[in-house]
Amino acid sequence: MSHQSADLQNISRQIRKDIIQMTHAAKSGHPGGSLSAVEILTTLYFDEMNIDPSEPKRASRDLFVLSKGHAAPVLYAALARRGYFDPAELLTLRQLGSRLQGHPDMKNIPGVEMSTGSLGQGFSTAVGMAVAARVMGNSRRVYALLGDGELNEGLIWEAAMSGAHYKLSNLTAILDFNGLQIDGTNDEVMSVSPVDQKFRSFGWNVIMAEGHDFDDLKRAFKEARACSSAPSVILAKTVKGKGVSFMEDQVGWHGKAPSAEEMARAIEELGGAEHV
């Protein structure tokens, strides 16, 4: 399934509205880090990955792991809009009995390949999936989305070491590089710089990208696929809260739901009301 960037723009606008409406309905959740990853997930689910929503367990499918599991709203919205389940279900996010848990639960939702939420762990499981694909002679690709705050976790670097050691060229990590974590900027809380040099020194193929530019993301994924000697990491420069003016680059919107008024303003900015 290949889309023109104009189509991807429309899809991403819908996913942004979904994120706002879901977190408002749930009265909790993580809009900031969901909004920053919209173009990345839109590109993956509507352009890059070899997947088929009508056959979510097809053996040859590519796998995606949301290592920054708190961005569950963007994953659920992307899956629903891609056809894995009815978008109406999105508004059940975080409610008792809902399949849409606060952090992704692979046992429940079609298209979710790994249960995540505890930072660092998704990346490690993605390494395992990439090794497994090789053992099983499966030509699939494995993708993992990391947060920049998540790079504080020691497990990330254990996983990075092993991905390079086993030369997992079928693995692509994408860093949602928005510069903010819960207590402040990356630099204030625990500096992760220089990320590019860190990954390069661990043996990864490092690719820079504009994380809200579809053409640039497509180019980055193409470069990652072309590398046959090492795993790739795409450092995707993003803005936390992207697309909603009062949420952009604001630490306070990491884990806070919009009020009814804030939702109305956000939806207006995203092109007007349109029910999920």
Partner: protein
């Protein structure tokens, strides 16, 4: 069942190495992971036979468990091994969130459990791993008492759809069962019938319980001996049967008295058929360096300690 040779000894980790390599032939989906301890955990036997299905993850136990989870999610049957301290302790939260929560088919075969690690001292003596693994939903917890049961239980564990923790020891221990003995996960093995007291033991303490039962018989005390190789799910039926048929239960484990076999038995007995339960184990303290024999003596984990507990508590 025929009597095993009394002299023969084997460490349960040795048995693990042998059965894993042999299962590799039957199950192409088996892969093995280790954290730079393959010569000690005995996964090196599998590694030599199936180098393309063995993955040394280096001294990084957390990542090893995460990688094993990803492999299991892809349809493989990974066996992940390191010392019990680092498997259950260091990697606990990865086991919880990436293996147990999604109910993935990872077998964690943890060796060098308990105080009989010996000279390495307290930092390497896992005496709380049963408690840590038992509390996790979806987890099955096994502790074989000898080489024969280790092989049989590890093979049987492949039929379980979900994670399994297998607690294995460093030292060679006597073979208690004949080669053809049958084991069922979740069913205690009754090694000796008795009417006065039931000794419920697991791991290396099963042999001590058998010696204790023999000594007790000389004092005209009839002791039943159960090998509780499956700590979770607990064989509540066998435990409550013992509670209703014998007036005292003594549990024995090379583990803290908090949270392990003794706790599991006491929980079942207090709810189902209250009788006195005396727990033999490590009494909420850290171990220290020493020979395994000296440590078992100092920390109260011998047949003589079991006999004393029975005599003191039997009305």
């Amino acid at each position: 069942m025929s009597k095993p040779s009394a002299q023969k000894k084997m460490a349960t980790r040795e048995a693990y190495g042998e059965i894993l390599a042999s299962l590799g032939e039957k199950y192409p989906e088996i892969v093995a992971l280790d954290a730079d301890l393959s010569k000690s955990t005995k996964t090196d036997v599998f590694a030599k036979k199936y180098p393309e299905r063995f993955f040394d993850m280096g001294i990084a136990e957390q990542n090893m468990m995460g990688v094993a989870a990803g492999m299991a999610a892809s349809g493989l049957k990974p066996f992940a091994s390191t010392f019990a301290m680092f498997a259950a302790g260091r990697a606990f939260e990865i086991i919880r969130n990436s293996i147990c929560y999604p109910n993935l088919n990872v077998r964690i075969c943890a060796t060098h459990a308990g105080i009989t690690v010996g000279e390495d001292g307290a930092s390497h003596q896992a005496i709380e791993d049963i408690a840590l693994m038992r509390v996790l939903p979806n987890m099955t917890v096994l502790q074989p008492s000898d080489g024969v049961s280790a092989k049989a239980l590890i093979e049987a564990s492949l039929k379980i759809d979900g994670p399994v923790y297998v607690r294995l020891g460093r030292s060679a221990v006597p073979i208690l069962y004949p080669e053809d003995a049958a084991f069922e996960i979740g069913k205690a093995a009754v090694l000796r019938e008795g009417i006065d007291v039931t000794l419920i033991a697991t791991g290396i303490m099963v042999n001590e319980a058998l010696i204790a039962a023999e000594a007790l018989s000389e004092q005209n005390i009839s002791a039943r001996v159960l090998d509780l190789h499956t700590i979770k799910p607990l064989d509540t039926e066998a435990v409550l049967k013992a509670a209703s048929e014998t007036q005292l239960i003594v549990t024995a484990e090379e583990h803290s008295v908090i949270g392990g076999l003794g706790s599991a038995v006491a929980e079942a007995v207090s709810e189902g058929c209250p009788v006195k339960v005396v727990r033999i184990g490590i009494k909420d303290t850290f171990g220290e360096s020493g020979t395994p024999e000296a440590l078992l003596e100092k920390y109260g984990l011998t047949a003589a300690h079991l006999v004393k507990a029975v005599v003191e508590n039997l009305k």
